[in-house]
């Protein structure tokens, strides 16, 4: 029983992980936060659900669509909330992207209504009995795709030319420019990747819960921020570890305590980190004023 719950927690964590990675990328590139990523995930999921339900597309198509939509939306947000917003006002991009999030949510409600949209199971009825764990086809899909995207991102960042450029820009954008790295293109790439991750996160989360609601945006953002705080800003490893840990803590809390306690437990953990270890588990710089 416990093992099954841990597995469920792992699954939940997998869905958090992608969104958190998406956020991390943008913070790295721009030193600002794209607060509309949660809504981006939601929009991708809603559109995917339309593809799956009304157009009866295979899941794979919906998955690709979620990547594309997420990526495009995110790049759009770059232009609207970041590029043309003066860097002199550090909070302006946060506020602007929050505004975009609000607009996205309202538009979705206008177009699709405010009820939840269903994400149907992949290969419904297929399950495997692996000893103490029961795995459905959908769950396997979630795990495999999350893992693939996470590993893919890691490899891309570490091994490819553009991935290295993204890391360089994240370290020191001015210096990267002085080296001749095409900074704007790198940033757009970063936003695109971030959006793709968010899109996938939206769809996979919808698959996990079999539903996606237009109001999910903020909850996704909040979860991702919590993961980032615990895992550490800018750390892929941290995001993965924190996501899995939080996924498990949440699942176990619901099972052994109650749904409400789940939230409270998580908030208290976050608060503890913010107070005592603001750089998170693997963060490379603290969110804290350094008193020199």
């Amino acid at each position: 029983m416990l093992v099954q719950q841990l597995f469920n927690g792992l699954l939940l964590g997998a869905t958090f992980c992608l969104a958190a990675l998406g956020f991390n990328l943008v913070v790295g590139a721009m030193d600002r936060l794209n607060f509309s990523l949660g809504e981006t995930a939601m929009v991708s999921a809603i559109v995917s659900s339309v593809l799956l339900n009304r157009l009866e597309m295979p899941f794979f198509v919906a998955f690709l669509a979620s990547l594309v939509i997420g990526g495009l939306l995110s790049v759009l947000v770059y232009f609207v909330s970041f590029k043309y917003v003066s860097r002199d006002y550090p909070n302006a991009s946060i506020l602007s992207s929050l505004g975009v999030g609000i607009v996205l949510t309202a538009l979705v409600i206008k177009i699709f209504g405010s009820e939840q949209q269903v994400i149907p199971d992949v290969y419904p009825g297929t399950r495997w009995d692996l000893g103490p764990i029961d795995v459905t086809a959908s769950q396997l899909v979630i795990l495999v795709l999350s893992a693939a995207l996470t590993v893919g991102l890691y490899v891309f960042l570490e091994r490819s030319r553009w991935g290295t450029a993204i890391r360089g820009v994240s370290d020191d954008v001015t210096m990267s420019g002085l080296l001749g790295v095409p900074v704007e293109r790198v940033v757009i790439l970063t936003f695109a990747l971030s959006g793709m991750l968010a899109g996938a996160a939206g769809l996979l989360t919808g698959l996990a819960f079999h539903a996606v609601s237009p109001l999910d945006g903020f909850a996704t953002t909040l979860s991702a921020l919590i993961i980032i705080v615990i895992g550490g800003l800018g750390s892929v490893k941290g995001a993965v570890v924190a996501a899995i840990a939080v996924g498990m803590v949440e699942t176990l809390s619901v099972v052994y305590l109650s749904a409400t306690m789940r939230d409270i437990v998580v908030y208290i953990v976050v608060a503890a980190f913010l107070l005592f270890r603001p750089q998170g588990l693997f963060g490379r710089n603290a969110g804290v004023l350094e008193r020199v």
Partner: protein, 295 residues
């Protein structure tokens, strides 16, 4: 005075209080994203006192403000050492936590909330506004006001110059929370009904918009912005459906065109310049280390 005019005046006054309250925190450079939590504390605090313990409204409001101030001081103290990003996160989390707790607290009706608070009058709102405005006029002319500005412009320099940063910043946040709490209490006793869902991130964003729309440089700019924004939905009634979209677009357009708000110089001195979101430290210093000779 018709009931309608009364309601409009009260609502406008409350909006002004929200904007001014937020402005106090902003003037030290601290941007909270969960300020609705202080509204909630003020609302619930004062409502409990009037409904369950029969207190007169003015006293209940003050008590609510005090509790908000304490919460604000706590958040302010924590915020002191955090970069803007982490401040955003922690204030968001704090407000979410509060809502979750309120939803569970049966004494205040849990998710359904409280019902039956009345008593807000135009006079009351007016007095509060006048008091806050007077306070702000004095503040901006005082040494305390200069201290706020110092903290906003360059926190580290302010630390060095002997400004008792901790006290000042925490005090600012506490005051901000108190004013917001009063606004919350007044609103609660106007609306008759409150529930935790009213004080979520949407409301926090509205508070921020009210403040920054008019202009962050002068407190009266923020107040004017709040008045304008608050009156828009009333006089453009047909757009009810579109409010969310309009508010969202307003944020987006405003941040591109005039991020400092409508009133105020377009000078990057209003927000802390160059303060990194992730770290408050400046660009890496050259690493100086003594070397042995070369091979």
């Amino acid at each position: 005075m018709s009931a309608f005019t009364e309601a409009v005046l009260i609502q406008t006054g409350i909006n002004v209080l929200l904007a001014l309250g937020y402005w106090i925190a902003v003037s030290t450079g601290k941007y909270s994203f969960g300020h609705a939590a202080f509204m909630a504390i003020g609302a619930y605090g004062s409502s409990i006192l009037t409904l369950k313990m029969g207190w007169p409204l003015p006293l209940a409001l003050i008590a609510g403000a005090v509790v908000s101030a304490v919460a604000g001081a706590l958040v302010g103290w924590i915020a002191l050492r955090l970069s803007m990003l982490y401040l955003a996160i922690i204030t968001l989390v704090f407000s979410e936590l509060l809502i979750t707790l309120l939803n569970q607290w049966d004494y205040v009706g849990g998710g359904s909330g409280l019902l039956g608070m009345t008593g807000t009058t135009v006079t009351m709102v007016l007095i509060c506004v006048v008091l806050v405005v007077a306070y702000l006029i004095l503040l901006t002319r005082s040494r305390m006001g200069l201290a706020y500005e110092a903290i906003r412009e360059d926190e580290r320099a302010a630390m060095g110059s002997g400004v008792k940063i901790t006290l000042v910043a925490v005090g600012a946040f506490a005051t901000s929370a108190a004013v917001t709490g009063i606004a919350g209490g007044l609103a609660a006793h106007q609306q008759l009904i409150i529930n935790p869902g009213l004080y979520g991130p949407q409301q926090s964003l509205i508070i921020i918009l009210f403040c920054v729309f008019g202009g962050v440089q002068y407190f009266w700019g923020a107040a004017i912005g709040a008045i304008v924004l608050g009156l828009l939905p009333i006089y453009f009634n047909g757009l009810a459906d579109w409010y969310q979209i309009i508010y969202g677009l307003l944020f987006v357009v405003l941040m591109i065109v005039r991020p400092q708000g409508l009133i105020g110089r377009s000078r990057a001195g209003i927000f802390p310049v160059g303060l990194s979101l992730r770290r408050a430290a400046p660009e890496p210093e050259p690493r100086v280390r003594e070397e042995e000779s070369v091979g």
